[in-house]
């Protein structure tokens, strides 16, 4: 019972949400760098992943100023859906899902590997890391600091 009231005013868990925000910001600026500076056009699946990561950068920020623990309620679902898209994209990318099944136009193939950093880091892989990092932190946060 004490547990329920103890946290309401404290800043416990701030760091977890802050790190989540860092990840979302890195993904936001990173993806903008790839498309706007390097000029690699995002395919359809990339756009779906962007749709779910961009609002996270805003939502986490709102949840940090002032610190509001209920931010986990609004952000966790977005991150989970986003992870779904990035896993699907990764499977298309690595060939587990055949090309004919992927919802891409002829002009811009989602299966085409446009960028490989250091020979093995691909964009969908980075997306999976970002989403799962956020999900893990949010789940920990939810267990320890929310409810």
């Amino acid at each position: 019972m004490i547990q329920d009231t103890i946290n309401t005013d404290s800043q416990d868990g701030w760091l977890l949400i802050f790190v989540c925000w860092l990840i979302a910001m890195a993904a936001l600026f990173g993806s903008l760098f790839i498309s706007e500076v390097m000029g690699i056009e995002p395919c359809v699946l990339c756009w779906w992943q962007r749709i779910f990561i961009y609002p996270l950068a805003v939502l986490f920020l709102i949840g940090l100023i002032p610190f509001d623990r209920s931010v986990v309620r609004y952000t966790l679902p977005l991150a989970v859906i986003g992870l779904g898209f990035s896993v699907y994209h990764y499977l298309v990318y690595s060939g587990f899902i055949p090309e004919s099944l992927q919802p891409c136009s002829d002009a811009l193939s989602c299966a085409e590997i446009n960028l490989e950093l250091m020979g093995f880091i691909t964009i969908p892989m980075l997306s999976i890391y970002a989403y799962s990092g956020i999900i893990v932190l949010l789940v920990i946060f939810r267990k320890r600091f929310y409810q």
Binding site: F18, L22, V37
Partner: protein, 216 residues
């Protein structure tokens, strides 16, 4: 309060990092592209390429274009203006990069019109009537055909000429040259072999003015 400062500082850091990384990337790309095209100057122009302006001009604009490309159409009067601003000093070489579906058919109509000395008129007509013959980014040659009346073209001859192997080969060659020169979008500009890296009216104008100043 201290935490809010950390957040603000981090946000600023992200923006600054982005800008710095972008400018480093762009300046490197600038150098790289410059080197590529200087090493591949022979792909820049073919003896069959249509040219406009004085042949002895010391500044040559090479433009890879697609007849169905809206930006190419928007740049056309601007490029002409830039040539007029530097009378006798700048000429234009056109190369084909038909990226839109069926654009290559439109290009062969241009080439066939060229045999009747009506290349530029046909090109301008194509740009002028974009809305009439492009549906959702797909060129409709049959619709463009109806826009050609009034130019004084011998339509029967045009119809035969546009199917020539020679024209098909020219288009193929231009597309291959574009690949060699790393041009994947239209319009793709080179001025005296130097690529227009940062795309824009002003940037093209600057590039041309620099070359004019260097050569005259």
């Amino acid at each position: 309060m201290k935490k809010n400062m950390i957040i603000v500082a981090t946000a600023i850091l992200f923006v600054v990092l982005f800008i710095v990384a972008a400018s480093i990337y762009n300046s490197q790309k600038d150098k790289e592209l410059g080197n590529i095209s200087l090493g591949k100057i022979e792909y820049m122009q073919r003896d069959y390429s249509p040219t406009m302006g004085p042949l002895d001009a010391k500044v040559t604009i090479v433009e890879f274009f697609d007849p169905a490309c809206g930006t190419c159409s928007a740049f056309y009067p601007f490029v002409k203006q830039l040539m007029n601003d530097n009378p006798g000093k700048v000429n234009l070489v056109l190369r084909y990069l038909p990226l839109h579906q069926n654009s290559d058919v439109i290009v062969s109509i241009f080439e066939a019109a060229r045999m009747q000395n009506l290349f530029w008129e046909t090109l301008e007509q194509a740009y002028k009537t974009h809305d009439a013959w492009i549906d959702h980014h797909v060129a409709r040659p049959e619709k463009f055909w109806t826009q050609l009346s009034g130019l004084g073209l011998d339509m029967e001859k045009l119809n035969t000429d546009m199917r020539s192997v020679e024209i098909a080969n020219r288009i193929k060659q231009d597309i291959l040259d574009a690949q060699q020169l790393n041009v994947s979008k239209t319009p793709g500009f080179f001025v005296n072999g130097k690529p227009l890296v940062q795309f824009g009216f002003r940037q093209l104008q600057q590039l041309i003015e620099t070359e004019v100043a260097a050569n005259y």
